[in-house]
């Protein structure tokens, strides 16, 4: 197997190409721009389309149009741009158009900064735009996963006709790691709903307008059923040393790698610590939390924001155990800092 | 004999009178004796003999009410 050194953003772009991505529409923004630049270089080789749009609003609507033809298509951005895309994402979710949306995230609110952050967790997991909908959210923690989740993301998008978002901290987009290049995808989905011209069939219509109240409710129920199916089948998390853990750290993305080191350090010092790393942020892997609560007395959400995922942990726990939070913004804390936090909480809780 | 023949799908008519206004022969008018399902007095041919089948009424009708035939 071929192993190469790649930057996170480029690995993601290469993964998308290997998944058969036929078009990229985007507007430049740090720290996501390498994805666009990689696509601009490579897409012409496979007769694909790269187009720099006039704005993120236009870009996401180009995705809407291109996805409606049945092609695998994507866009990438960061905080301020992802905010502009929300209108389009709401429409895409209702129209059930599969596509991949990347948030190489930075800190907000407002223009914020370009340092790593996970402050778009609420926006990503609650839908983000108007209306009752969700996008699937995958959170990679390594450059390898940047590639793998791009492939997986397109697969899930087509399977469920849902926009899939990959959310990674800017640092993960920028850093380099050796990775195994995945084989190109060769099996694709039939899309009889696509608007490609009605030759040989009845015309297809893609709309999100449902004026009769019964019809609107029906659509919302249909979406809810789909979301329930996804919740029952696609929740993913990595569990590390949780079997007997009394103190469970919960962290996603790069933060989970730091947390893992802190767990090892805590174990060396006799603290029964463990880690749950949500891979799907939506659907949130609450089952993993509930199972860990059989032994755990306290869960500590580690986030690069001011406390967002901790709410999902509390919802999952529903009183079964305590939930605490530690977060920074603009920096990824080092293992020593987190170890100290863990020691402090363990002492306080008498663990 | 009239050279043209117009046919009205009266259930679609909204009585906007554009056909009546633009018929060069004054062959059309509203049928005040009838009310269609949309609640309008639909347009109709009042003087079929005058119709030349020029198609102007259908050209100006916004609601695809009129079909025109010509010799």
């Amino acid at each position: 197997m071929e192993k190469v050194l790649m930057k996170g953003n480029e690995a993601l772009a290469e993964g998308a190409l290997r998944a058969g991505c036929k078009a990229y529409f985007g507007y430049p923004i740090t720290p996501s721009s390498e994805i666009a630049e990689y696509m601009a270089r490579k897409l012409p080789d496979s007769d694909g389309v790269f187009l720099q749009a006039e704005s993120e609003i236009a870009a996401i609507n180009m995705v809407y149009g291109a996805a409606s033809t049945g092609a695998r298509v994507m866009t990438a951005s960061s905080g301020p741009g992802i905010s502009l895309k929300q209108e389009g994402i709401s429409y895409i979710a209702e129209a059930e158009l599969p596509c991949l949306i990347i948030n190489i995230s930075r800190g907000g609110p407002g223009l914020g900064g370009i340092q790593p952050a996970q402050s778009d967790y609420f926006q990503a997991t609650r839908g983000g735009g108007h209306g009752d909908y969700h996008v699937m959210v995958l959170a990679p923690a390594s450059v390898q996963e940047m590639m793998d989740f791009a492939i997986e993301g397109f697969e899930l998008a087509d399977k469920y006709r849902i926009p899939v978002m990959i959310m990674a901290e800017g640092t993960l987009g920028q850093m380099m790691e050796p990775i195994i290049l995945r084989e190109p995808v060769t099996k694709f989905y039939d899309k009889p709903w696509a608007t490609t011209g009605c030759k040989g069939r009845k015309p297809n219509v893609i709309t999100t307008l449902h004026l009769p109240p019964e019809e609107l409710e029906q659509r919302n129920k249909h979406l809810k059923n789909k979301y329930d199916e996804i919740k029952s089948k696609e929740k993913r998390a990595e569990a590390f040393m949780v079997e007997d853990a009394e103190l469970v750290l919960v962290a996603f993305g790069l933060m989970s790698r730091v947390a893992k080191k802190a767990v090892i350090e805590a174990r060396k010092n006799g603290i029964k610590a463990g880690l749950i790393r949500p891979i799907t942020l939506w659907p949130f892997p609450d089952q993993h939390i509930i199972e860990a609560a059989e032994t755990a007395k306290i869960f500590v959400s580690l986030e690069i924001n001011m406390g967002q995922m901790v709410e999902d942990i509390k919802l999952a726990l529903n009183g079964r155990a305590k939930a605490d939070f530690y977060g920074r913004i603009g920096v990824i804390p080092n293992p020593e800092e987190i170890t100290k936090v863990v020691f402090g909480i363990a002492e306080r809780e008498g663990l | 004999m009239a050279k043209g023949r117009v046919r009205f799908y009266s259930d679609r008519c909204k009585a906007c009178e554009l056909c009546i206004k633009f018929c060069p022969k004054g062959a059309l008018g509203l049928d005040k004796k009838n009310i269609n399902a949309l609640g309008y007095h639909p347009a109709t041919v009042v003087d079929p003999e005058r119709c030349t089948g020029c198609g102007t009424c259908a050209l100006m009708c916004p609601d695809l009410v009129i079909e025109v035939e010509r010799e």
């Binding site: 609003i57 009605c198 | 009178e17």
Partner: protein, 245 residues
């Protein structure tokens, strides 16, 4: 006897929801006639606006999409870039195209996007009940310019055809009207030319059509047609503004 006028195949028989005498209906029909005559129905993909034309997908007998307000040109771009041999058109009102969707239309034109835009300029927001549009004429009373549009408050109506004609990427830009039979025929010709422009891959094409909104203008349909001639055409002159050979 031979049939001189009947429903085009590219429209379903479904009744339009438009108000009596609203020229949206005339324009729908002539677009459909052009698609029929050019045998493009099975290759056509249309994108509807948010505005009174929002339900046009229920009338056109071909593949159709509904866009977010103003975004139709971006959606059409996405479609056309994937399906370069299809016929892709948008149908947009003045609020949709010249206000909220200004960026999308200007850039689609600047890119020479090979799509056809049918722009319905009725100088008002019809669907939402008659508010001021970017094309509302000076002095025109709307629900949000109740004392008449005053340039010192809200500036001047935008002439989209002229504006887009300055873009190199625009291949065919024309303004027409449907206020009488001769102009309906001219509009049909212009739409055909716009479609031809796209099928020959020459670049962006738009037909701006002066249209009526009898309901929100507070006029009967015939008075509304007269207003087009009397008030609109002097400010929005008809003609071709760009024809790329």
């Amino acid at each position: 006897m031979k049939v001189v006028a009947k429903r085009p195949e590219s429209l379903y028989y479904k009744k339009f929801h438009y108000c009596p005498g609203c020229t949206h209906g005339i324009i729908h029909r002539i677009i459909a006639e052009c698609i029929d005559e050019m045998e493009l129905r099975e290759k056509t993909i249309g994108v509807c606006p948010v505005g009174c034309g929002v339900l046009a997908y229920e009338y056109f007998n071909c593949d159709m999409l509904e866009a977010a307000h103003g975004r139709a040109p971006a959606i059409a771009t996405g479609i056309k870039r994937m399906l370069q041999d299809n016929f892709v058109f948008t149908y947009q009102g003045d609020g949709d195209l010249a206000s909220i969707g200004m960026a999308e239309i200007v850039h689609a034109s600047a890119r020479g996007e090979n799509i056809t835009v049918i722009f319905i300029n009725n100088t008002i927001y019809g669907m939402t009940g008659g508010q001021m549009a970017p094309t509302t004429l000076i002095g025109q009373v709307t629900t949000t310019s109740p004392y008449g549009r005053r340039p010192e408050l809200t500036g001047y109506p935008i002439r989209m055809a002229e504006l887009l004609a300055t873009n190199e990427g625009s291949a065919y830009i024309c303004r027409t009207s449907v206020h009488n039979p001769a102009h309906v025929l001219k509009t049909k010709k212009a739409i055909k030319k716009a479609i031809q422009t796209q099928m020959e891959k020459k670049g962006f094409s738009m037909v701006e059509i002066l249209s009526t909104c009898p309901t929100n203008w507070g006029m009967n349909p015939i008075e509304a047609l007269e207003r087009v001639e009397r008030e609109m055409i002097p400010y929005f002159p008809l003609g071709e503004f760009k024809v790329k050979e």
